[in-house]
Structures are given as C-alpha cells and as structure tokens.
C-alpha cells in the first residue's frame, strides 16, 4: 500500500488500514515484558502454572485483544467519553470511601456482586483523559500560568486526596505525579515548577510528621534504617536486596532463586517480582528488561509527539508517564532506593486490575497512533 492510497478520503477509516496502523512493535514489546512476568510467576510458584502464571497469561491475552479493539476506536470517541469516565471514576471512588469493602486495611474495593472494582484504577485512566481534553480546549497562552489552571489542579488533587485517605499512598503518588507531569508537558511555567519542587521538599518532612498514618511513617523510617528492624518492616528491604545482590552478573538460573523459592521474599508475586527476576537472571536479565521498558517509553513518547491533536499528544504521553512512574518507583523500591509504597512493576507484577488499567492505557496510546492525523475540531467533541 502506498502513501497516496492512504490519503484518499475515507481510506483511513477502513478497519484493515487501521489494524495496519497499530504499532505492532509496541504491542510486541508489551507481550515480551508480560512473557517475562509469566516466566517469573511460574518460577516463584515452584515451577507450577498455578496460582499466578496461568492467570497472568490468560488475562494478558484478553487484555491484548481488548487493546486492539479499543486501539482502532475513533479518537473522537475517546475524546467524548473523557469527562464521563473521569466522573464515573470519581463517583465510584467516593462510593468506595463510603461503602467500600475493606481489604488489607484499606477501603479500595467496591463490591458489585461478583466483581470487585478498584475505582482508583478507573480514575487513573479518567484523569489522563480528562486532563488531555481540558488542555485540548484551553488556548496555549493560558497553559503556562493562569487562573484556568485551578481546574486541572482540582481534577488531580481531589481523586489523589481521596485515594491517599483510603489509604493507598502508592496510587495517590501515581495519580498526583502523572497529573503534575501532564501539566508540565502541557506547558506549565517552569518557574512555577521550580517553586513547586522547592515547596514539596520543604513540606515533605512536615507531611511525614503529621499527615502519614503510623504504618506509613514506619515504612519511611524503615527505609532510612532497614537494619533497625530486621524481622519487621525492614525485612522486606533487606531480603529484597539480598535477592538482587546474590543474583550477580548472570543470575542463579531459572527456577533456582532461593530467596523467592524459600519464601524469604515478601509479596514476591506482586510488588517484589523484580527482585526474583534479578535473583534468577542477574544484572544482564535486569538491564534487558529495563531496556524493554525504555523502548516502550521511547515509542510511546514518539507516538505522542507525532499526533496532530493536542488531546492525542497529552493523552498518549499521560499514559506513558503513569507507566514510567510505575517502573521508576517500583524499581527504586525493590532496590532499596525508595520506601515501600505499594506500586507494582507494570505487566511484570501479578494483579488483574493493574494489568487491565495498563492495557486500557496502551489502547489509548494505540488509538492516538492509529488516528494521529485526525483533528478534533470542536471543543466539545465532534462525535457525541
């Protein structure tokens, strides 16, 4: 197919053309990362498919199909549902705060019959969409510094505050971080960013003293002095570091990581799966996986950059920002560089809702790529 064929009116609306426009390299990279995750889950379950590896693979399969289906969905539909998705997410978040099901001491789940809903996951996508839509309609000259920016600030802070109260510090940081970076990408005055960073640095110790819950403070203190509490909270960090370090250059080999196999590692299937990876595949394996992540990020930012609509640019980059923050925070946490806050390694860690959110996000990225030439003309959405 030549370029000229694609310029014929309506040609880009054909499904086969759209499927060809999906970024298959990106899709393959996601599958590769998930494949590594399945391998690790198989290994830490003692060489069995249950209880994690099989479900992880099956879920990815369905999410992958969903990503393709959503990826060819017209970007204007994504645009039209941006605020509704955000609103639904916010309402569910409030509902969970009021009537939610307490699990692990946090009110994160909403019980809808057989489905356990985690509204904080919906709001992650909703926030990216809502911010992208807002900035799409905001004239560029206001994006630097104006009163209009109170609106995106509220869009970010309200869900972040609710999630932080649940309490789910990790997700709250992700939401606030993603929102902040998106505002910067949209053109927030760098002077304001600098002021904000200084303020944050000054406020952090105060927040640690007064805002954090007891166990959250304990995690911070433990992070600073893991050796002080070897059997309690410091245990996670120490054992994780032992797993990493003992992996060495080439690792102990597949299925031979004693740290994970012998249950020294906590939450080995979820937050600390990277440590198992490091133990069994060593420095080489870790850096390879980090390179896979880097490739996803580069491709994602490139897709954002070539999009014609401002909505597309911001939406795609917002998803990539969430993804990047997850990788960096989880990596730092596992390596003892950051406190344990409960952020999973995307696609590697076991966890259904997180995978669904991530793949929904990549569906949005694919949609931006497939429809990179489309202009969204009306401030109120052209379709609906």
């Amino acid at each position: 197919m030549t370029d000229s064929a694609l310029t014929r009116p309506g040609e880009r609306e054909r499904l086969t053309v759209k499927l060809g426009e999906i970024d298959w390299l990106l899709a393959a990279l996601l599958a590769a990362i998930t494949g590594v995750g399945v391998l690790m889950l198989y290994s830490i379950a003692g060489g069995t498919w249950g209880p994690w590896a099989d479900r992880h693979a099956a879920l990815f399969f369905f999410c992958f199909l969903a990503m393709i289906a959503l990826g060819v969905t017209d970007l204007r539909i994504w645009f039209a549902v941006a605020y509704p998705v955000y609103a639904v997410g916010l309402v569910l978040l409030l509902a969970a705060a009021v009537i939610g099901h307490t699990r692990l001491g946090a009110q994160r789940w909403l019980d809808l019959g057989p489905i356990h809903l985690q509204p904080s996951e919906i709001i992650k996508i909703g926030l990216v969409l809502a911010l992208a839509r807002f900035y799409h309609s905001l004239p560029g000259r206001y994006a630097g510094l104006s009163w209009w920016l109170l609106i995106p600030a509220a869009l970010i802070l309200v869900p972040a505050a609710i999630v932080a109260r649940q309490p789910d510090l990790g997700t709250a940081i992700l939401i606030a971080g993603t929102g902040a970076v998106m505002m910067i990408l949209a053109g927030l005055s760098l002077r304001l960013v600098a002021v904000g960073l200084v303020g944050l640095a000054a406020a952090a110790p105060l927040a640690a003293m007064f805002v954090l819950k007891g166990y959250q403070r304990a995690r911070l203190l433990t992070f600073l002095h893991p050796e002080a509490d070897r059997s309690g909270a410091g245990y996670h960090i120490i054992q994780s570091k032992i797993a990493l370090g003992s992996g060495g250059l080439m690792g102990k080999g597949f299925g031979l990581g004693s740290q994970a196999q012998l249950n020294f590692l906590p939450e080995k299937s979820t937050d600390f799966i990277f440590a198992s990876l490091a133990e069994e595949f060593g420095f080489v394996g870790c850096v390879s996986v980090l390179l896979l992540y880097a490739a996803v990020i580069v491709i994602g930012l490139r897709i954002a950059s070539v999009a014609h609509s401002h909505f597309g640019r911001l939406a795609a980059s917002g998803v990539i920002v969430t993804f990047t923050l997850c990788v960096l925070i989880n990596g730092a946490m596992v390596m003892g560089l950051a406190p344990v806050v409960g952020v999973p390694m995307p696609l590697l860690s076991f966890g259904g809702t997180v995978m669904m959110t991530m793949m929904a996000g990549f569906a949005l990225v694919q949609a931006v790529r497939v429809h990179r030439y489309s202009e969204i003309t009306s401030g109120h959405g052209a379709l609906l």
Binding site: L104, G187, K241, L244, S246, G247, H310, V321, M335, L337
Partner: protein
C-alpha cells in the same frame, strides 16, 4: 468553556512547546532508568559477593514466636480463660519427605485413627511449602519423649512446646467468653493476599466467639521472633538467643461477671433451657450472663469431631445458641410494668378499677384471664397479674405510648456488649406496622390488648429485660450494661453515662411498690417463691408467662404441660434489696411453664448468692434484730 481557537500560530506553538517538554521528559526518564541500572550494577556487580554469602546461609531467619494469649478474668480476678503449656509435634514437608510413611510411623507412637490421619494428610497437602503443620497437639509426656527419641528417623518432624487455651470452668462462661479455634482459610484470605504471618504459625488459634472473638487483637499481643541460623534448605543450624525479639503478651481482659453467680446459674438451670442476666443496677455491671444448657468450650479449642458437633447442633435445647441476647421471646406479663408506667405517665388514675370475670368480651371475641380476679386497681392488677385489667388499660393508652416507654427502658434496643449477634427484637407501634406490613399498614385496635400483656408482636431478650429492671430499680438513671471492666490497664467507662429517665419519680415508685407486693404480699404471684430468708432484705419482682402459640386451636388450655416445644416460656424479673436496690435480674426458662413455678425459684437462688456476697447486705442481715439464721429457703418473719 472556551470558543475553539484554531489560529495556526497557537496550534503550532502548543505543538512545539509539547515537543520540547516531551524531550525533557524523555531525558529525565533516561536519567531515572540509568540510576536504576547503576544501583543494579552496585548491588549485583560490586557487592554481589557479600549478598551471595548472605543468601546462601540467608544467615538469619526470624521465626515468629506467638505471645501468650491474654487472660480473661472475672470482676475479682478469677481466671475464666488461660493458657497451659502443651507438647506438640510439627511436620514440615519438602520434596524429600514421604508424608504417608512418616504418618504411618507416627501412628505407632501416638494415637491416630484413620479419620484423623486423613484430615492431617489434607492439612499437610494444603499447607504452603515448608510451612510446618501441627500433627499432634497436647501430647502426654510419655508420647512426647517416645517421639523425641525416634525423631532422627522421622524426617521433617520436630517436637516443641506450645501453649493451649484452657477454660477452667468448661461450659459456664462459653456464651460470654467464647472460645478460640483453628485458623481456617477464610480467616487468612479475609485480611488480604498477605495475611498476618502469625495466622500461619502452626497451632495458632483465633478467637471465634464472644469476648475471645471481639477482643481477638488485644488478646493476641504482638508476636516476637526467634533468631535462628538456617541453611539454604531452611533447616535450623543454630539458635541465637541474643538476637531474639521478645513477644508482647496479650492484654488481659477483665470482665464484670461474677464467677460465683454465673457458675451457680448454670447449676440451677440443670437440664432446663433458658437464660439468666444479672446487672448491678447502680453501675450497669453485668454480673451474670448465662445461657443454658451450655457446652464445653475446651472441646472447640481441640477441634470438634463431626458427631460431636452434630449432637450439639441437633439437641432441641440448642446449647450453641446464646439465649440471653441472640434470641427473642414475648415478655409476657413482665411487660405489664411498662404498660402501667405508660398509663401513669399518660395521666391514667391508678385507682381506676376494672372487673375481672376471667373473660372479657370485646371487639367480637373473648379475651381470657387465668382466673376471675374480681375488682382490680392498678396495684392489684400487677400483684395478681390480671390480664383483663391490662387489656383495657393498654387500649386506653394506645400502642405508641407504651412502645415509647418500653424503648426508654432499653427494650427493642441493643447494647454495647462485646458479644456478636445481639437481636433487638420488636417493640411494635403504629410506625412499625406501617413499615413492616405494607399490605396492612394500619394498627388495629384489636392488636392493642395483646400488647398490653406482652404478647402479640412484642418480643425481647433476657438482657433487655434485665436492663429494664435495672433502670426501674435505679429509678433515676438510664444505666447501660457494661460487660468489660478493663482491657489491659484501660478501665472501661461505667454504664451510668446514659442520662436520666424522663419519668416522674412517683410513677416509678408506684410500679416498684407493686413489684414488691408481687413478692411480699401473700396475694402476689410469686409470694411463695420469693421468701429469701434473709431477714430485712426484701426482693421485688414480676412474673411472666409467655404463650408460644395460640391456644385457640385446642392444643391445651394452658401451656405448662404437654409437648415441651409447645409449653409457655417462663419469665421472672426482680431486683433486691427492695429498699436499697443493688442487683437486678431477669430469668428466662424456655418452655418452662408458669413464670412463678419455673423461673422465680431460679431467680431467688441466684439473687441469694449475689446478696450474700455483698458485705453491706450481710452487715444489714446480721445487724437485724430478727435475724433468722441464714438458712436458705427458711421462711422469713414478715
């Protein structure tokens, strides 16, 4: 929102700005990833040697040591639940252990039947890899030493000493104290994918009922850790006592119960089914909260066998059921105290009389009384428990006022008592009919007479009636029951914070006088049973006999005979001493027949125990000139 702006410059400017910022973001991400890679290099390349050594021994492992579970005590420190040391046998499996063979060898050393063996095999198969399973608990010393000698031939088997929960009084306190039992799968999943590791500790027991369940966390304490050196297979190579983290023992829970009264309650019930609740009507302290028949909590700690559980759950006197507060019954004539008080408050003259001819025709049907009481005023109608008086009094007052009065006395409510499953019961009024009978949302006058004698929709539990009597006896404060005296060092607030009763003192006094005549006038329904023989110490009470079914179908005239499940429920409520109220109680005998015959003697006996334990009361008895010698049951001088 904004009008769409599509000046080319603006669009272009936004795109350029985005590209600049996106490039910055990419750079920052790159720096972040490089930092991670650098840290990996530091740990995995530079310090790899150090961590390799650590992982091979994994040097130290911390094995959780469960703390001793907190004691449960009565008001004076008598132990109701404690722990005793016990020898047990743990089996940790890995791929080198042939479970079947080990169990075969063990069965020659310790008693183990096939059912138990099958259950153990299932437990072991379900346990996480290498997590030890308690194979035998509570071994005798002989069994323990026999296994210990053979231990080297039994791979994966270790013997150690743990603790077992023990309830020294067996069944008397089960419905309050509850019991602990094995941790099951739902206990673990309930707290999420990363359960409290102490739950997985072999032989750990979790509070399953009553106080043990409600205060499970404070009773549990904080586990300590034993520092051990292990090899790569997780086998203990050496212990390191210097590195042990001591455990914090569970906090003791001191209840307000009195062990003597509670134990006596279970004794006086014998094979009868029912409940007895006694409160200190000055403070609200629950001195007795018994449900009979009961069952031995120690059996549950061990784990009940199928037939044992079946026998308990199928026995028609329902030992597993807490009849003091999870079961509701019509209060019968004990409710007349509330009707009388509501009438007085509504301005009804207590001297107004009705004539009782054993039957009263109203609303097209006959309303019965158990005998012809003749002319009755309110005092006499309480004393002789005349139904016909109260049918008509209830009609003149109406259901809403009666219900409002009853609720102020705690009927139809639940209390802050750490026993799950309190049932509020029903105090009906016109709002109740509107809400729960959508097809017939109107209160009919014909429903009021039944309510006047505590029948019809009215249903309460023994705890509520005890609170009602305590408030009547107290006369001024709406006291609330308090079951827990202290959690650890934390003294719990007494039950006197409930505020004042919004009733005229004279009206309360009238009802109390009538209750005194029930027990002390020769014409009172419980005169015979209420002669305590304690000199000047007098009791005041009210009998109640609650129908369990309508007699209209010809199934027996009065339900004191016949099939057990069809007999009437017997109630007695009382407080003593009458002139200086200290103790208030309610006694329910399920299907016991007449309140005076079945419930009153039990109440009198328990009241006697409580009164004789009270030093002030004893002083009064001995100081009295006509002290009759403290022979229980001897007729008192009147």
């Amino acid at each position: 929102m904004f009008e769409p702006h599509f000046h080319f410059d603006d669009v272009n400017e936004r795109q350029t700005a985005f590209h600049r910022r996106a490039f910055l973001l990419g750079g920052a991400t790159g720096v972040g990833l490089l930092a991670l890679a650098g840290r990996l290099g530091q740990l995995q390349l530079l310090e790899a040697g150090k961590y390799k050594v650590l992982s091979e021994h994994n040097e130290f492992e911390f094995r959780l040591t469960p703390p001793p579970r907190g004691l449960i005590l009565d008001r004076s420190g008598v132990v109701l639940a404690s722990n005793r040391p016990a020898f047990r046998l743990l089996l940790a499996t890995d791929e080198n252990v042939d479970v079947d063979q080990v169990l075969t060898e063990l069965s020659q050393l310790v008693p183990m039947d096939d059912a138990r063996r099958a259950r153990l095999a299932a437990d072991i198969a379900n346990a996480p890899r290498r997590a030890p399973v308690a194979v035998v608990e509570d071994m005798t010393w002989e069994e323990f030493s026999r296994v210990n000698v053979r231990a080297p031939e039994l791979p994966g088997v270790t013997a150690d000493m743990g603790e077992v929960r023990v309830y020294p009084y067996g069944g008397a306190f089960t419905h309050v104290v509850g019991y602990v039992a094995k941790v099951n799968a739902s206990d673990i999943t309930k707290t999420g994918p990363n359960a409290d590791p102490i739950l997985l500790n072999p032989g750990f027991r979790i509070g399953r009922q009553g106080v043990e369940k409600f205060f499970d966390l404070p009773l549990r304490g904080k586990p300590g850790a034993k520092k051990v050196e292990v090899d790569v297979k997780g086998r203990v190579v050496r212990e390191d006592p210097a590195g042990d983290v001591p455990s914090t023992p569970g906090a003791p829970i001191r209840l307000t119960l009195d062990a003597d009264i509670q134990n006596r309650a279970i004794e006086v019930f014998g094979n009868d089914s029912g409940a007895a609740v006694m409160l200190d009507c000055r403070t609200g302290d629950v001195l007795c909260l018994a449900s009979a028949p009961s069952f031995d909590a120690n059996r549950f700690v061990k784990g009940l066998t199928g037939p044992e559980y079946k026998a308990l759950s199928e026995y028609d006197r329902k030992p597993l059921f807490n009849k003091a507060l999870t079961a509701n019954y019509p209060p019968g004539s004990t409710f007349k105290t509330m009707v009388a008080l509501a009438a007085l408050e509504a301005g009804v003259n207590p001297d107004r009389t009705y004539v009782c001819n054993k039957a009263w025709f109203w609303g097209g049907r006959v309303w019965h009384c158990d005998k012809a009481h003749g002319v009755q005023d309110m005092h006499n109608a309480i004393k002789s428990s005349c139904d016909i008086f109260f049918y008509q009094t209830a009609l003149s007052v109406g259901p809403d006022r009666i219900a409002a009065t009853a609720r102020k006395f705690g009927l139809g409510g639940t209390f802050d008592i750490p026993i799950p499953g309190q049932k509020p019961g029903i105090i009906p009024d016109s709002a109740y009919k509107r809400r729960f009978f959508p097809r017939d949302p109107v209160w009919h006058a014909g429903e009021t007479p039944s309510m006047g004698i505590g029948q019809g929709y009215v249903s309460v539990n023994a705890l509520q009636l005890a609170v009602m009597v305590a408030r009547l006896a107290n006369g001024s404060k709406a006291i609330n029951p308090r079951l827990v005296h202290a959690i650890g060092d934390e003294i719990q607030p007494p039950g006197t914070a409930g505020g004042d009763l919004p009733f005229q003192r004279a009206h309360l006094e009238f009802v109390r006088e009538a209750m005194a005549s029930v027990a002390n006038d020769p014409g009172g329904t419980a005169y015979k049973e209420m002669q305590l023989g304690l000199g000047p110490i007098k009791i005041a009470g009210k009998t109640g006999t609650a129908q369990t079914h309508s007699y209209a179908g010809g199934r027996g005239e009065h339900g004191a005979q016949g099939a057990w499940v069809l007999r009437d429920h017997a109630w007695f409520i009382c407080f003593a001493p009458y002139d200086d109220p200290r103790y208030a109680m309610s006694v329910l005998v399920e299907h016991g027949g007449f309140g005076a015959d079945a419930a009153a003697p039990k109440a009198a006996e328990l009241m006697r125990v409580a009164l004789l334990k009270d030093k002030d009361v004893r002083d009064r008895i001995t100081a009295s000139p006509q002290a009759p010698g403290l022979t229980p049951g001897a007729p008192a001088a009147t």
